[in-house]
């Protein structure tokens, strides 16, 4: 007993000392908070602007996706080397969330509170980014160009700070669905879906055209690498065409499992899961198991909305190749790095559009005002306006053959809901000579 009370007494003495000390401190402080009224804009100075992002650098979604921020970083370094935008260099911080929503929440906390970023750019993932959606909007942090095609990012009334970027999974599902309905009218369609909004939105789009043809919809949980039951169920349901809305690792896993089951449907993977280079490299190592090359993906159908490294003559790819050669780190230019650079390119345009002295409010307003006119490597325009925050409006359907892709359709443009699917009009944009987008015309 005596020791206990001694301890209490000691603690009491220590705390009392602390109280006295801090009371002195408090007495010395001005109590008006003068000078803090006009709070300086967060994350932006006359010479720099700091933006943040969360990406899976480890874990199940890291293959491929971890390359996106390296591409964005290379492009920002390229812009900074040319003097930055309006005299400001772009300071790009990206942190690892391991595709784990709980970790995303902590990481974004750090970006906003510790790093004090001006805006978030391209935070990746549907389950991950939805965990911080409310937070970013309640803190008033511009949440630009989320790296995910969920419909969640297009809710300007509820989430005024958040903007989508890539074609959303619903319109991708619609375009794929229509393609299948027209070209494989007899097919029994199976769906292989990630068990979250990614899979749900894609299914929603595909069912608009294929509801009667779909014989099975199987879902996997990211992180659980055993997809044997799902593939077996698709096979058991007799599906002879499978549409996958999944991340790249699961393209490899589903292919491996199909091999095991001698299951050979026509595979269609959404853009997200279909990068031939990456999936091929995951599958290629099974060489002794008689999977000799990426040939497994030969004949797989997918969609595209950015030029890829298989088209080295494309002027955008040439620009990005130059950027990567000059400012990239280890490794080759990949489709994921092109994705990151394209996002960075969009951000630079938004920053230009926000004028000489951007604020968090003005950059959001600028994207709403002129975002629909942004020109870049994407095949169809964004759908940004005051009451829409949706990204690229179309994709083209393509087939993978021998590591490259060949177009099966022209660029098809549509919108959410019942909007019809039409062929894109207008010419593709050419990159500016210096590789940096010019400020848009005022107004």
């Amino acid at each position: 007993m005596t020791r206990r009370s001694r301890r209490s007494a000691l603690a009491a003495a220590a705390v009392a000392a602390a109280v006295v000390l801090s009371a002195c401190g408090a007495g010395g402080r001005p109590d008006g908070g003068s000078g803090t009224d006009a709070a300086p804009a967060v994350g932006i100075t006359d010479t720099s602007v700091k933006i943040g992002a969360h990406f899976p650098l480890t874990g199940v979604a890291a293959p491929g996706y971890s390359e996106i921020p390296t591409g964005a970083k290379a492009y920002f370094d390229f812009v900074n080397a040319a003097g930055g935008i309006n005299g400001r260099t772009i300071d790009y911080v990206f942190r690892d969330d391991a595709y784990n929503p709980t970790q995303t929440s902590q990481v974004v906390n750090e970006l906003v509170l510790q790093d004090q970023v001006f805006a978030l750019l391209g935070g990746l993932g549907t389950p991950t980014h939805s965990a911080v959606l409310d937070y970013l909007n309640s803190e008033g942090v511009p949440d630009l160009f989320v790296s995910s095609g969920s419909l969640l990012w297009d809710q300007p009334a509820k989430n005024p700070q958040t903007f989508g970027w890539q074609p959303d999974y619903e319109i991708e599902g619609k375009i794929v669905g229509q393609y299948v309905a027209q070209n494989f009218p007899q097919a029994k369609v199976g769906l292989f879906l990630q068990d979250d909004d990614f899979g749900r939105d894609g299914e929603l789009g595909a069912r608009r055209f294929l509801d009667k043809q779909i014989v099975a919809a199987e879902r996997y949980t990211p992180g659980n690498t055993d997809v044997a039951p799902q593939i077996a169920a698709l096979q058991a349901a007799g599906a002879d065409l499978v549409i996958g809305f999944n991340v790249p690792s699961y393209t490899a896993l589903s292919q491996l499992q199909s091999l095991r089951l001698n299951y050979k449907p026509q595979w269609i993977y959404s853009n997200v899961g279909s990068d031939p280079g990456l999936v091929g490299s995951l599958l290629a190592r099974f060489s002794e198991g008689a999977v000799t090359d990426a040939g497994l993906l030969d004949g797989v159908i997918t969609t595209e909305y950015l030029p890829g490294v298989d088209a080295p003559d494309d002027p955008w790819v040439q620009l990005f190749q130059r950027v990567w050669d000059e400012h990239g780190g280890d490794g080759e230019l990949t489709n994921y790095r092109i994705y990151g650079m394209s996002q960075a390119y969009t951000f630079v345009q938004a920053l230009q559009a926000a004028g000489a002295d951007p604020t968090r409010e003005s950059i959001v307003a600028a994207v709403e005002r002129s975002g629909a006119q942004f020109q870049g490597p994407w095949v169809a325009p964004f759908r940004y306006s005051a009451d829409r925050h949706a990204g690229v409006s179309g994709v083209e359907v393509a087939r993978i053959t021998g590591g490259t892709t060949e177009s099966l359709t022209p660029v098809l443009v549509t919108d959410n809901g019942d909007a019809p699917i039409t062929e894109a009009t207008g010419e593709p944009a050419a990159p500016p000579a210096n590789g940096i987008p010019a400020a848009p015309p005022a107004g």
Partner: protein, 292 residues
């Protein structure tokens, strides 16, 4: 019917691996009364060593040998360095030490080998057989897995039944005091027991990895399933571990195939709780009752 067949065959293949893993747990439990929760992490680590060797241009079989030898060494070193001091102490201390090893090894693997998913080669074809026009989820690689596990088990049986060394190890595990009096080097036998167990564990890690993706946490669930299998068979019984492993493999495969893969871990928990409450000595215990 085809699905039932496929689910069953998949379960058998997984069961063989769980059996090997459970066997490793049982070997350690018999010799030192410690449940080695670091078993999965140790196996993961040696599998990464094998992967490094294979990516360096060596064949799968060289990788296999490297993993097994590394497993033996790792097991012996861990027993000598960190298990020996807590042997015979409060049982909680040994549990916490193995958990610490688990956490440390997993993090070390992520530092040394990276934490992204990497593919691990399989030595045999991954394409399923076709029998009479019906595809079955049974591949040449599955046969390899089962054969490998059976060979290891037979070798262990031979070691324990027919060799002098095996007799000494059994004696050391049975009664340390008596064995010491009879001149058995008990300490050395315990180290050997850990080494053998870690070797068997390494094999199971390698077999699971073959033709699939590896990452530092890929053995996490296997620890739980292997533990459940070992408890089901009676933590003391090697034969029980084998039967337990096959049973768990089949049951979990049915759960995964018919109820949903997210329920697999829950099913394992349910089996474990049922066994511990209804027949705590396991299916194959020699003694009538055991303190759990």
């Amino acid at each position: 019917m085809q699905q039932f067949l496929n689910v069953t065959l998949t379960g058998l293949g997984q069961g063989a691996v769980y059996a090997a893993f459970a066997l490793a747990l049982v070997l350690i439990w018999r010799s030192t009364r410690v449940v080695n929760f670091a078993q999965g992490a140790m196996a993961m680590f040696t599998t990464y060593l094998a992967l490094t060797v294979i990516e360096g241009g060596q064949s799968y079989w060289v990788g296999l040998v490297v993993a097994l030898v590394a497993g033996l060494v790792l097991g012996a070193v861990i027993e000598r360095l960190v298990i020996r001091p807590v042997e015979g102490g409060p049982e909680l201390n040994a549990v916490i030490v193995t958990l610490g090893l688990f956490v440390a090894l997993q993090a070390l693997a992520a530092i040394l080998f990276g934490s992204t998913f990497r593919s691990f080669p399989a030595p045999f074809d991954l394409r399923g057989f076709t029998v009479g026009g019906v595809n079955i989820a049974f591949t040449p690689n599955s046969i390899y897995i089962i054969v490998a596990v059976v060979v290891v088990m037979l070798a262990l049986v031979a070691l324990f039944r027919f060799t002098d060394l095996g007799l000494k190890m059994r004696a050391a595990a049975f009664s340390q005091e008596v064995s010491r009096l009879l001149g058995v080097p008990v300490g050395r036998m315990l180290t050997l027991g850990w080494a053998l167990a870690a070797g068997v564990g390494s094999l199971s890690g390698l077999l699971i990895a073959g033709g699939s993706l590896v990452f530092p946490a890929y053995m996490d669930a296997v620890i739980v399933y292997g533990f459940v299998a070992a408890v089901l068979g009676g933590l003391d019984s090697p034969a029980g571990a084998v039967v337990g492993g096959l049973t768990i493999g089949l049951l979990l495969s049915y759960v995964s195939g018919y109820l949903g893969s997210e329920l697999v871990a829950l099913a394992a928990l349910a089996i474990l709780v049922a066994v511990l409450l209804v027949r705590p000595q396991g299916l194959f215990a020699r003694t009538a009752a055991r303190r759990v």
